[in-house]
Amino acid sequence: MKLFFLLLAAAFVPDFRDIAVEAGLTHVFPNGGLETKEYIIETTGSGVAMIDYDNDGLLDLFVISGAGGRSRLYHNEGGDRFRDVSDAMGITRTGWGQGVCAGDYDNDGYTDLFVTYWGQNVLYHNEGGKRFRDVTKESGLTQDRIRYNAGCAFLDYDRDGRLDLFVSNYLKFSFEETPKPGANPYCWYLGLPVNCGPRGLPFDRNILYHANPNGTFTDVSEKSGIAEPHQNYCLSALVADFDGDGWPDIFVACDQTPSLLYMNQHDGTFAEEAVLRGAAYDDNGKAMSGMGATAADYDHSGWLSIFRSNFSDERETLYRNRGKGEFEDLTISAGMGHNTRFVGWGCGFLDFDNDGWKDLLLVNGHVFPEIDRKNLDIHFKDRRILYGNLRNGKFEDLSEKAGTGITGKHSSRGVAVGDIDNDGSVEVLINNQGESPSLLKQAGKPPGNWTILKLIGTKSNRSAIGARIRITAGGVTQTDEVRSGGSFFSQSDLRLHFGLGEAQRIERLEILWPSGLREEKTGFAVNRILVLQEPAPQK
């Protein structure tokens, strides 16, 4: 029977379809020019989120817009239908929207949203699922100058039960001071005058905000060590406990400069150790143009490895965690070395066939629309890439046969993964520049069993962000964490989805809550959503 399942699962090729229009996601989200882009700000937007803002058990969708449009919140009406509720819910901010991350920062039971901008960020407080209120100013998150805020993530870095906030910054940009295409050597690409940067534009620094008991935040970037180094063009933020010490670390994918890995020192500070830990460069010691980043225990080692998307003429990077947060670049041997014509952005590990091994999806699209004039094999709009996990440390590229949702061409950026209809098969939300978003859903049912875990913290932060799960089913143990942020500027479902293959029961669940409480549970049925609440602290 086991062999039969393995053969069945191995032969399974998903058929992803884009159901966005049928689902009601028809608004176009502009992000600068589609024929030419004069400034770098037109190239990086924007992210998406899948959150259940009203606690009705169904994932709602949030899509960020660049200037000239507006970000929108869509309520999940069930039956794969969504309704635009932006006005009613108070989602009103416009501008150059970039990234989004979610978390219940005030532990009131409702998921809040933080949206980054070139300009002022916005913290939307969720008012009981009825409305979002802009509390940026009163929470102390107003910035004293225009910044190019990029990725973000809520995390409880000091494990005090309150969610802190990390915001990566790309560079210093202004329309007035940034040179025009062709103005200097950093404004050319393959003989074409293009928007300038990031090289040649000034660096900025990343920001860490500490959450105070009164609901406000304090910038602790300097004293926490996050403000250094500041010679990196930082994009996506990815938080995970990479060294397994129970404290969240922060990986930042950086463009044309080494990526960063801030290791939590357990005393409110971080040490940046990406180079020595092998997560800064490619295997030649060369900085890549890192865009998006995601993490998973793809090889069942019990450690969270990192995947980073990069620029064209670069390989994507799979940093395998060889234990304790030391990484090795196994991109080529894992079978991911050949897709060098794409500029990659949002990415997510997902188990599309529910076989218990995380597969990988990433989306693409060049930063220079002008490239299409060159008639090369790199394009402004390009297809997605889907890798199937072969369960031996290697991946198979399924892109060309995984359905029109994968082969369709767009200039995509943010990606979020979640199960919109709670049927155990994950969907994918994608932000496409200058188009309506994509919502990918499989036409068929994946062969394996599954579970979805919704964790609720009590002593820990209510969203349980940072909780680490080890789930054993069918003799196979998988590890994952509840995560805010990640991918490219995006927020995936805060619930954890696990494929379980042919397993009929979940044998064991181990939860390491952010508070430090370790909990073990046994004997759950498969193919259902489990809600797990942290045992209340003893008085």
Binding site: D283, G285, K286
Partner: protein, 337 residues
């Protein structure tokens, strides 16, 4: 060209000038007002005025009249005048199509002022001019030669036109199937011309063809290994790099490639040995330092790993690193030892 004189020199010279004519002549020279400069410098009895008069004449195209005085100044001990006169003489020789004479002066200038941007600029112009003239001769005198196609391919490569370059190399091979390096060049251009996996097979075929003609080509062996690795055939790749090292034991890139492979195979000691050799042979090789750092780390020797990281950090400092990277992209095949 004569505008390159720096202000400090003007100021210094002006301070020592015996007459207002010298000062005003130098100022006019600096402004590019050569008519006034010639008038005022002619009036000054100062010996420096004679040199600047010659520089003025050179700048206005009267090299014959200026030549003797410039040569005298170039041979003198006054460093500032020597430099300016040398630059003017080289310019005059280039204008008179005396490229060999210009090369002699440029060589002397480079030896004496190795970091001077004006000297380096003039040398670059001279090299470019000589290159252009030689290419012109090749096209004129041997238009049907495979060398014409080969050099066309090489030029197209530097311009990033890799698909067009492959066509030229194929023509060259058709004309002279026995010529060495053509298959190698074609293989490399094929790799650069497309991201498709099929390009790997096509390029590998060319490197094999190069090796069939020249079995001792360690660089072709190395390239074949790189392709085999990209095709996820690490054992075959490793054998190619071993062979490259048998042919050329001092081949840093092959040492790094094999060292990285051993690292992935968790053979840390072997990896460290290979990478130490690479670093010794090529102390500025960032990939070698990075891989050695990881090898030490994996072996648990953090102290040595940190030393390698420090070396790497130093090498990657901008802007030198960026320019080095730019030069690397030009991708010249290094000479074999």
């Amino acid at each position: 060209m004569m505008r390159v004189i720096n202000l400090s020199l003007i100021a210094g010279l002006a301070t020592f000038a015996q007459a207002d004519a010298l000062t005003s002549g130098l100022e006019a020279f600096h402004r590019g007002d050569y008519v006034t400069a010639e008038r005022d410098l002619s009036k000054s009895p100062d010996p420096r005025a004679r040199t600047f008069l010659a520089l003025t004449m050179a700048a206005t195209g009267r090299c014959d009249a200026a030549g003797a005085e410039l040569a005298k100044a170039f041979a003198s001990g006054d460093q500032a005048l020597k430099r300016l006169s040398g630059l003017a003489l080289a310019q005059c020789d280039m204008a008179g199509d005396r490229l060999d004479d210009a090369a002699v002066i440029a060589s002397k200038l480079k030896a004496q002022y190795p970091a001077d941007p004006d000297v380096l600029y003039q040398s670059a112009r001279l090299s470019m001019r000589a290159w252009n003239e030689t290419i012109y001769q090749l096209y004129q005198k041997a238009p049907a030669s495979f060398r014409v196609n080969q050099i066309s391919g090489e030029i197209l490569e530097t311009q990033g036109h890799f698909a067009e370059a492959t066509l030229e190399y194929r023509k060259a091979i058709e004309k002279n199937p026995k010529a060495l390096n053509l298959h190698f060049r074609l293989g490399r251009a094929l790799l650069m011309s497309s991201h498709a996996p099929e390009a790997l097979d096509a390029a590998l075929k060319e490197f094999e063809a190069e090796l069939a003609m020249n079995p001792s080509d360690s660089i072709a062996e190395y390239q074949a290994g790189q392709i085999l690795l990209a095709q996820q055939k690490p054992d075959a790749a490793g054998a190619r790099w071993q062979r490259a090292l048998e042919l050329n034991p001092d081949f840093p890139e092959a040492l790094v490639a094999l060292g990285k492979l051993r690292l992935e195979e968790k053979k840390n000691d072997e990896a460290i040995g290979l990478l130490q050799r690479a670093v010794k042979l090529s102390p500025r090789n960032e990939s070698a330092h990075y891989s050695l750092m990881l090898a030490y780390r994996n072996a648990g020797n953090l102290a040595e790993a940190r030393k390698e990281k420090a070396e790497l950090d130093q090498l990657q400092k901008a802007p030198e690193g960026e320019f080095t990277e730019f030069l690397k992209k030009l991708g010249e095949k290094p000479p074999q030892k």
